[in-house]
């Protein structure tokens, strides 16, 4: 039987106006870093240079924090809450207006399929601002007391997997609650944050309320350790999250940490198998598996395991890997050389420890960073690929016999960010949801996000929540907790 191939349907780059270089966004203006250093940001799908961005060091961080402090004391904290909210509404609207441009820049800088940046990242980022805009003048109803107060200046550090969306998760609630921010985007994906700085200018946001400093881990550490920061909000690895927790242990700084995960996606034998297979694919291959809550540990009830794996392989053969700018692409480029190396390194331990690797036949582009969709079967709980976060399109498959065993295996992790449940029995779903030690449970669905829905992990997956009323609380001073 002959099959029809998809013709390529590339999105145009024309809408993306990427400057050849960017400074740091401090005090409402783009300024050159004090030491004049910069670094390149490239398109991971073809390794072409996109732009040069400023490298912020300690001196620049100090300027940015001073600018944020001054904006906090002189302007932002004095503004009526209603007006504060209006700025956020403006930002949300401008993001919607410029959504296509943002989607294209995001895909060029990150390597994710344009379909995902267009349909998920950018609309959700705009929605986040719209949602939080409405909170600004309703904080006394947020469940943290009658006179909620902002914390002050917040240092925010975000990862490269959802660059603009993570920025929105951080900046929207911080501003709505009345804080000012210094945000450091990830080293490999600074562009949409710099574009966002322009949005702040267009919205007329008072100078210094949002400051964006580009750089690397050293820049981030300088931000964390700056003495005039009141709170750190970080999304990234558990390792760095713990380092942040240590560096603020003797300070008054509070923190929210959204860290790693190794989510169990549990398929019970009464699940609708075809739906579950779609959910498994979405769970691990969405955004190249660069998702902290990715369903990277598939736990299948033993009696349906063969059927699920067979259907999964068949479905994986249909995944289109390639040009992220092609609207038909399912799996884009790995974000960086470094990340690709890490995926290889951890996945290779799967082979070495005796698990069985399988990938569909697929042609990978010769330039850029690529990894095929991959599953390992015959994985046991002690294997590194069942314990460590790979952060790539690699799925570890384990089996279980009884529901209790499934839950026990699911909870056997230092992480507790998310989990999936596939079953047609309501009582069983609610039972499993209760047993699972994870902050977000997706039942008969996976990888769903919404500004109104709190997100965050149990155990070593972090501190606090982002999104919803619960996330907002993380940006308001508590009247019962004593910060030393």
């Amino acid at each position: 039987m002959s099959s029809f191939e998809y013709a390529s349907a590339p999105e145009s780059k024309a809408i993306a106006n990427i400057a050849s270089s960017y400074g740091l966004f401090i005090g409402g203006k783009f300024v050159e870093p004090k030491k004049g250093k910069s670094f390149n940001t490239i398109n991971p799908a073809n390794e072409e240079l996109l732009s040069k961005v400023g490298y912020a060091d300690k001196l620049d961080i100090d300027l940015a924090v001073k600018s944020a402090r001054s904006a906090f004391t002189k302007v932002w904290s004095k503004l009526p809450a209603k007006e504060r909210g209006k700025y956020l509404y403006r930002i949300a609207r401008i993001l919607q207006e410029r959504a296509r441009e943002f989607a294209v820049v995001e895909t060029l800088d990150n390597g994710k399929p344009i379909r995902e940046s267009r349909d998920t990242d950018i609309p959700l980022a705009a929605a986040h601002f719209f949602y939080h805009a409405g909170w600004a003048d309703k904080l006394e109803y947020a469940g943290v007391g009658n006179k909620p107060k902002p914390l002050g200046v917040v240092g925010q550090i975000i990862p490269w997997n959802f660059p603009l969306l993570m920025l929105a998760w951080k900046i929207a609630p911080a501003l709505a609650a009345g804080n000012t921010v210094v945000l450091k985007p990830a080293e490999t994906t600074p562009l949409t944050a710099l574009l966002f700085a322009q949005v702040c200018q267009q919205a007329g946001l008072p100078e210094g309320v949002v400051n964006i400093v580009t750089g690397d881990g050293i820049t981030g550490a300088a931000l964390v350790n700056h003495p005039d920061i009141n709170k750190i909000a970080f999304t990234g690895s558990t390792e760095v999250g713990k380092a942040i927790a240590r560096s603020i242990s003797a300070t008054k700084k509070s923190a929210t940490l959204e860290l790693g995960g190794k989510a169990a996606n549990i398929v019970f034998d009464d699940a609708a198998i075809d739906e579950a297979v779609e959910g498994i694919v979405n769970g691990i291959f969405f955004n190249q598996g660069h998702v902290c809550c990715a369903g990277s540990r598939l736990l299948i009830q033993e009696n349906v395991s063969d059927e699920v794996i067979e259907k999964l392989k068949k479905r994986m053969s249909l995944i289109r890997v390639g040009d992220p700018m092609d609207k038909n692409t399912d799996l884009g480029a790995i974000n960086s050389k470094e990340q690709l190396k890490r995926i290889h390194e951890i996945s290779n331990t799967g082979d070495a420890e005796g698990a069985n690797r399988w990938s569909p036949e697929c042609k990978l582009p010769t330039k850029g960073y690529w990894y095929p969709p991959t599953i390992f079967t015959g994985v046991s709980q002690s294997h590194r690929i069942a314990r460590d976060e790979i952060f790539g399109p690699v799925l570890s498959v384990l089996t279980f016999r009884t529901p209790a065993e499934g839950i026990e295996k699911a909870n056997n992790s230092m992480y507790g960010l998310s989990a999936g449940i596939w079953s047609d029995k309501g009582a069983k779903i609610l039972w499993a949801a209760k047993q699972l030690k994870a902050g977000v449970i997706w039942a008969n669905t996976f990888n769903k996000f919404d500004p109104a829905s709190p997100f965050g992990g149990y155990k070593e997956s972090g501190w606090g929540r982002e999104g919803g009323r619960h996330g907002l609380a993380g940006y308001l001073a508590s009247d019962a907790k004593v910060s030393k």
Partner: protein, 280 residues
């Protein structure tokens, strides 16, 4: 000759039993007028570990008890304490050197604190959970769940109330606890364990250690099966040190203002969000 009193041996409270410290150590407690009162146990690292094992074992039973049931048990603690209130008053007077009236006020307040937190058990989810209006055909709700095992360093004074107002919220949220009594004022807390033991509280839900705070704090900080810590009874310095080592498993470490507040419960709870599609 007048009758000689039968003095109490003050021991630890672990897994519902009253053992001595495995280390065989005790230390001397003197009262307000430098008068010898008792030799409570000086708990060791091993005693702490035993207490955590007991707390861990009791965790799922307590967490999965109905909120109504937990509320009744917390109320029962208040009932039992009321019956023993004279004993608590005498102990506080001897230890803290306060007036009988002041001691009575403290005991009353401690009892009322149990009643206040008892009432929270079955209201917590409705007050602090949420049904989230997400943009799509999904049912999405958030509910608080207990963290697991929480260690509590009780405030030294007021000796009884300081312990109760740190312990009660931890239990109300469904956590199990290891309470480290104040080093200098531990006795009313040990007597509290006798009330707990007769309040239908399942064994292991609360475990109480006495001993040297400076010795136990670092072990609490580095214990990987302790999920949260209330550092009310620690110095700033000890708190910092505990937070530093506690980062190894991202312990939730808090100090609260000395008042009753639902945040004392919520600080040691996680919020769980569940999504399910809606459709035919």
């Amino acid at each position: 000759m007048s009758r000689l009193d039968i003095n109490k041996t003050y021991k630890l409270f672990i897994a519902g039993a009253f053992p001595r410290s495995e280390s065989g150590r005790v230390y001397e407690i003197k009262g307000a007028y430098k008068k010898f009162i008792a030799n409570p146990a000086m708990a060791s690292r091993k005693d702490l570990r035993d207490a955590v094992v007991a707390a861990k074992a009791a965790q799922s039973g307590w967490a999965n008890a109905t909120a109504f049931n937990r509320g009744q048990i917390l109320y029962r603690i208040a009932e039992i304490m009321q019956g023993r209130s004279e004993q608590f008053v005498d102990e506080i007077c001897a230890l803290e050197g306060v007036s009988n009236k002041a001691a009575k006020t403290q005991v009353d307040e401690a009892i009322d604190t149990w009643v206040w937190y008892s009432g929270w058990c079955d209201k917590l989810s409705s007050v602090t959970g949420s049904l989230n209006p997400v943009s799509g055909p999904f049912y999405n709700f958030t509910t608080p769940e207990p963290l697991g095992v929480v260690a509590v360093f009780a405030e030294s004074k007021p000796s009884l109330l300081g312990a109760v107002r740190t312990l009660a919220p931890v239990l109300a949220g469904g956590n199990t606890a290891v309470l480290i009594a104040s080093e200098s004022y531990p006795l009313p807390v040990i007597t509290l364990s006798e009330a707990l033991a007769t309040s239908d509280l399942p064994a292991g839900v609360v475990n109480i250690l006495t001993g040297k705070t400076a010795e136990l704090a670092p072990w609490v900080g580095s214990h990987m099966e302790i999920d949260g810590v209330d550092v009310a009874g620690l110095s700033k310095k000890q708190e910092e040190e505990l937070k530093l080592v506690g980062a190894d498993n991202l312990k939730r470490v808090f100090r609260f203002t000395p008042s009753n507040h639902p945040e004392r419960i919520l600080g040691f709870m996680e919020q769980k969000t569940v999504w399910h599609p809606i459709g035919l």
